[in-house]
């Protein structure tokens, strides 16, 4: 499984780099929305610290969904799903390859977005970096696990963009809420028990949906 997984990831990354399918639009949307949010929110520092988490993570979600949807819709549009599933790899390996590429996409987005947002909004979310990094990593896995599964489902139904938002947004509320709360606490300088609870929640969400995705993906993509 790991060999096929590695080659599928390499292929997706190569296609993204050569074809620039989604990363540029994802980054652009994220930066524009984040900057607009940050500059328009003319609030006292205390209120900015309280609101920064939700503004940041809503931005990441909407920009990230562009990339997540494209990871599956490109296979559907190019007629490559059948070819991919015909290879001697398990559907779970296909799911994991899409999942890990989506986690990487979200990570690259956040490397640009979080410092920009923190600077324009005047909130200290990079300090300490040992708090924001694991938080975003756990949230990325949760978002990518659920998003990849649902994107594959909606693409196989032929209703990608329209249905994906309807399905994903309500189901993403827990992970966005937890990530936003964790970020808010970092901005307030409170890496305490409450922060750890939200972090553990993100880990649990990611574990559950990675497991669910690994099991269900085969049934989602089969005809």
């Amino acid at each position: 499984m790991t060999t096929g997984l590695w080659w599928m990831m390499s292929k997706d990354l190569l296609c993204e780099i050569s074809g620039k399918r989604s990363w540029p639009s994802m980054m652009l949307l994220g930066i524009v929305v984040a900057v607009v949010f940050a500059l328009q929110a003319q609030l006292p520092q205390e209120q900015r610290n309280q609101m920064c988490g939700v503004l940041l993570w809503v931005t990441i979600l909407f920009a990230g969904l562009l990339g997540i949807d494209r990871s599956c819709s490109s296979e559907q549009d190019d007629g490559c799903w059948e070819a991919l599933l015909a290879y001697p790899v398990s559907p779970a390996a296909v799911y994991w390859s899409k999942l890990l590429v989506n986690v990487l996409s979200l990570t690259l987005l956040e490397i640009l977005l979080i410092p920009a947002f923190g600077t324009f909004a005047g909130v200290r979310i990079l300090n300490p970096i040992a708090a924001i990094v694991p938080l975003t990593f756990a949230a990325n896995f949760g978002i990518a696990a659920l998003g990849t599964l649902l994107s594959a489902l909606t693409n196989r139904l032929g209703l990608s963009g329209q249905l994906l938002a309807v399905l994903v947004l309500p189901l993403m509320i827990p992970v966005i809420l937890a990530a936003a709360e964790g970020t808010r606490l970092i901005a307030l300088g409170r890496i305490d028990e409450e922060w750890w609870r939200w972090f553990q929640f993100l880990i649990g969400f990611a574990l559950i949906f990675v497991t669910v995705g690994s099991i269900l993906f085969e049934f989602v993509v089969e005809e």
Binding site: G4, W7, L14, G79, A86
Partner: protein, 231 residues
Amino acid sequence: MSISIASIEMRGLSKALGDRLILDGVDVRLHCGECVALTGDNGCGKTTLLRCMAAQMRPTGGEVCWFGKNVIDAALKRRIGMVSHESRLDPHLTIRENLIFAGRMCSVSRPGLRADHWLDVCGMSARADHRPKQLSRGMCQRISIARSLIHEPEIVVLDEPFSGLDAFGTKWLHNLLRERTAGERTVVFSTHDPLCAESLAGRVLHLADGRLQEAGLAATARYSCPANEAA
């Protein structure tokens, strides 16, 4: 030709898509080294049947066995190659990269060398760095065939492989399939051309109303088929 263990055996195979029954109790047994042509009207279910044979589609009822086993796993899939009627090459990769990717996914040793070999066999070495959209449909079809054979599968399933090929390409594929069956590999292909079916295949099966009938016999040995035995 010796008859050994069946490479593909279908018993009572049924497949429904939605509320439409595509295949209804298909029984067939294919042996190593056999070349079988599948004919039928448009929309009769040839592609569905071939995809079930190639372990790409799960049947609704009945059973499919490959080399005596009815469990689809990676090891089994490595012994099967399927050519779809659409090339389905990744448009973001060059044709060489498409072949290398297929070789890697099928655990082929030295996929780069094998890809170069197949590009040579297809007569496309000069276009190795072209992307599929830069090629004609027939060229893409040839690369698609090469991609499905790069790992030297024992069962080759082809869905209308001659469509889109010019005279040179048709002759090339003809010779390629003859080589496959001479090497004790099982070849199943669908076609609308009865002459092609009769000239290439040792057995012709006709799909109609969801059921298979043996449509014609070539001059070579007759193979066992439950439908014939019942008749």
